[in-house]
Symmetry: C2
Subunit: 444 residues, 2 copies
């Protein structure tokens, strides 16, 4: 595909190229830019049909956007900006260096400039920062006919016209009417009679993840955003909610793997940035492994007299680590999905106790059989290893299920707090248990 495009460009077959582009979805065109040599980008962009140029622009990555903006004439820049929806404009501005931002702000219409500044003042992860202020607001005394006239006159973005919001004179949110309700009602009906009262809404300062979760829970296409006086200031649409849900899952996964989350895709993050995302956790976890070294050093005499004990250290640590992270990861995801909260702690502990005993006994039996069959160690050593297994799995699951809940309770992020540390804690714990049982049972 991309090679065909480059060939057409170099052969100056612009009419053919235009025809191909006009049949493509904006997001697919934007993907072409990913693989296109930079020198062809401005040319390809100028070949786009006017109506889709802005849509393509929104989907480009921010480096390409910046490059294009720097090459735009003032008229070209104005053309793009005039076509942008407000929330997209804000997204773009947030990624640009300040001199580019200045140029953008200079070329937006005064009304839009005002709105952009409004949205930019909301905190990064708030509902306010992802909302759009383009929506249809109706009044209670309008008829269905008036509503249709208003929709036709406003003609805003596709996600935003299917739920209309009803406000009073002070812009206080009173109700909502779906486009479906409007279509199924008589033209003379009054909005107040068909609207749904007390609609579910979110506050501008609510966390955007909670907003996305609510949209997903109620299966809405949009959710109204109100300020502290319950005045309607914007709406969050379902397509933005999906982005938040995907970002949030990626962030959780990264945190659980001891990576500082980034918003950029892997292939577009530089080596240095990737290094910075990873090194703090590796350093912290490496240093915290000093404990395990200390524990082994402490039991050096025991180890000296029965060196075979050392061969089972990796297995015990890994099984403990795996058991613990099975529990912690399940609980962390449950917390993220609002399925589990701190009040479930006793239910959770009781369940993990039973699961851990089942797992521990099965693992210990299997391991005992393996050690006997492969003649890996004498009977007393095998007993020590297997008893340690049961205890390690038990405590690992207990730590794994409680740590995320406590982290959440005291206001820390469970994914960051709990997951990377589970292995370290469980390692230290399992070695401690192992050597204590060994010294007691083997009298060394």
């Amino acid at each position: 595909m991309i090679n065909d495009i480059i060939e057409l460009i170099t052969q100056k077959q612009y009419t053919k190229l235009k025809a191909i582009l006009s049949d493509m979805e904006p997001v697919d065109i934007a993907q072409l830019f990913d693989d296109l040599p930079e020198r062809y980008m401005p040319l390809l962009y100028r070949l786009l049909p006017k109506e889709s140029a802005a849509e393509v622009f929104v989907e480009l990555d921010s480096d390409t956007q910046e490059m294009l903006i720097r090459g735009f004439s003032d008229t070209e820049l104005k053309d793009v900006l005039d076509e942008l929806y407000l929330d997209d404009a804000v997204d773009i501005i947030e990624e640009m260096p300040s001199n580019v931002v200045k140029r953008i702000i200079q070329h937006t219409a005064p009304e839009m400039r005002h709105s952009i500044n409004e949205i930019l003042k909301y905190p990064k992860d708030s509902a306010g920062s992802i909302m759009t202020i383009e929506f249809i607001d109706l009044k209670e005394d309008m008829t269905v006919r008036d509503a249709f006239t208003k929709i036709r006159r406003t003609g805003v973005d596709k996600e935003t016209i299917y739920t209309c919001y009803v406000t009073d004179r002070n812009r206080v949110l009173k109700g909502l009417v779906s486009a479906k309700d409007l279509l199924l009602s008589e033209e003379d009906c009054v909005i107040a009679d068909i609207m749904e009262k007390n609609p579910i809404s979110v506050n501008t300062m609510d966390d955007k993840e909670d907003v996305a979760r609510a949209l997903s829970k109620y299966d809405f296409l949009s959710l109204p955003v109100v300020d502290n006086e319950y005045r309607l200031v914007g709406i969050v649409t379902v397509d933005d909610a999906i982005d938040v849900i995907e970002e949030e899952a990626t962030e959780d996964i990264e945190k659980m793997a001891a990576i500082t989350p980034s918003e950029k895709p892997y292939l577009k993050t530089g080596v240095w940035d990737t290094f910075l995302q990873r090194i703090p956790w590796l350093l912290l976890l490496m240093i915290s492994a000093t404990f395990t070294a200390r524990i082994i050093a402490h039991f050096e005499t025991a180890l000296q007299s029965s060196l075979v004990l050392s061969t089972f250290i990796p297995m015990l640590m890994d099984t403990g680590g795996n058991s613990g992270s099975q529990a912690s990861v399940t609980i962390i995801r449950g917390i993220s999905l609002d399925e589990i909260d701190f009040s479930d702690i006793f239910k959770t502990i009781w369940k993990e106790i039973r699961v851990s005993l089942l797992c521990g006994v099965v693992l210990a039996s299997a391991n005992f059989a393996k050690m006997m069959i492969l003649k890996e160690a004498a009977l007393p050593i095998a007993a020590v290893v297997c008893i340690t297994l049961v205890c390690t799995v038990f405590f690992a699951k207990l730590v794994g299920c409680t740590l995320p809940l406590f982290a959440k309770k005291i206001g820390f992020d469970p994914a960051v707090m709990a997951s990377p540390f589970i292995t370290t804690i469980v390692d230290a714990m399992s070695l401690f248990i192992y050597f204590n049982i060994a010294t007691a049972l083997l009298h060394i």
Copy 2:
């Protein structure tokens, strides 16, 4: 909240209860059932306003649904079934035991029964299994006025009316018209003139994750599902896509933590089922740790002569494991989000080589300083540990980034194949490197 409800039930304050319920969203009412003692459930359900009873029913968990169905009279069952949307009915049926399914099928209208059987025949993770067959299909020669008449007459579910699909006599998909386009067009316009041709569609047998990903990528509210002859058979709506996206992220997270995925929330899964989700992986990974035991046993003489080497085993293994899973988890998530595929393997390897050398050198320096300051070991031992660190991080990241890509290439699930095994592979590797460097450098 739930205590107030129970109090009202026991005091037989049904009018008050009804008033409260009529103001609540169906999904919130369904959450009440989670905490309600079973004996009150049928009563509470019967107090629901008729129009929302079916919506609440859909949101209940399957155990509660089953319990209620068993208690329903035939008329009550029919009332619920008549109000259900087809895709919801299919979801419910898929969770029920066969005798309940039989009773449900008996009481559905013949046409719906036929459609249910149609959908049930699609494979579990296919587009066909999550689609709904309730959609608006228009013909090319209809006018906008005809279209509105058809929408009013059909009056289907909210997500499904906002994108209307245009088919020919053979039901072959020709185009789409959004409700917005209809509203903004003159009543006499012909559909063929305003419809978008060549709409993006999916096949009934496509993976539901790909369908959800496409809906999210294109910001559509629904996506048409066609059969091999390109005939329109159903649509997938955005609310179902969100569910798929959340499920998929949960599944990936579970697989990466060596858990067999389940569709039930943690608190609703029994102890035995949770045990079964976890034990196979724990067993497999425990057995595979036999390698590490063998490696240590092999180098027993080296260890005997320099026992302090053993104290650094946990730190080396953990740092290797963490480094490896940082890389593998990033790549696995990138594959899931369609950001990375096998053709990026050289780019990925080259990047990880540079990141791993940066990480390795920083970690080794920090560790060397720590070992010297805390006097944990003599200089030669410190040198062995630090060189091992650099090598381990290097190979761990290399394995971590390539394994998921190869798994994907040969058709295995990267999350299952790669993540749980990274630790085991890296453990064995780091021990092997450690002892080889130690024997070479320390002449033991």
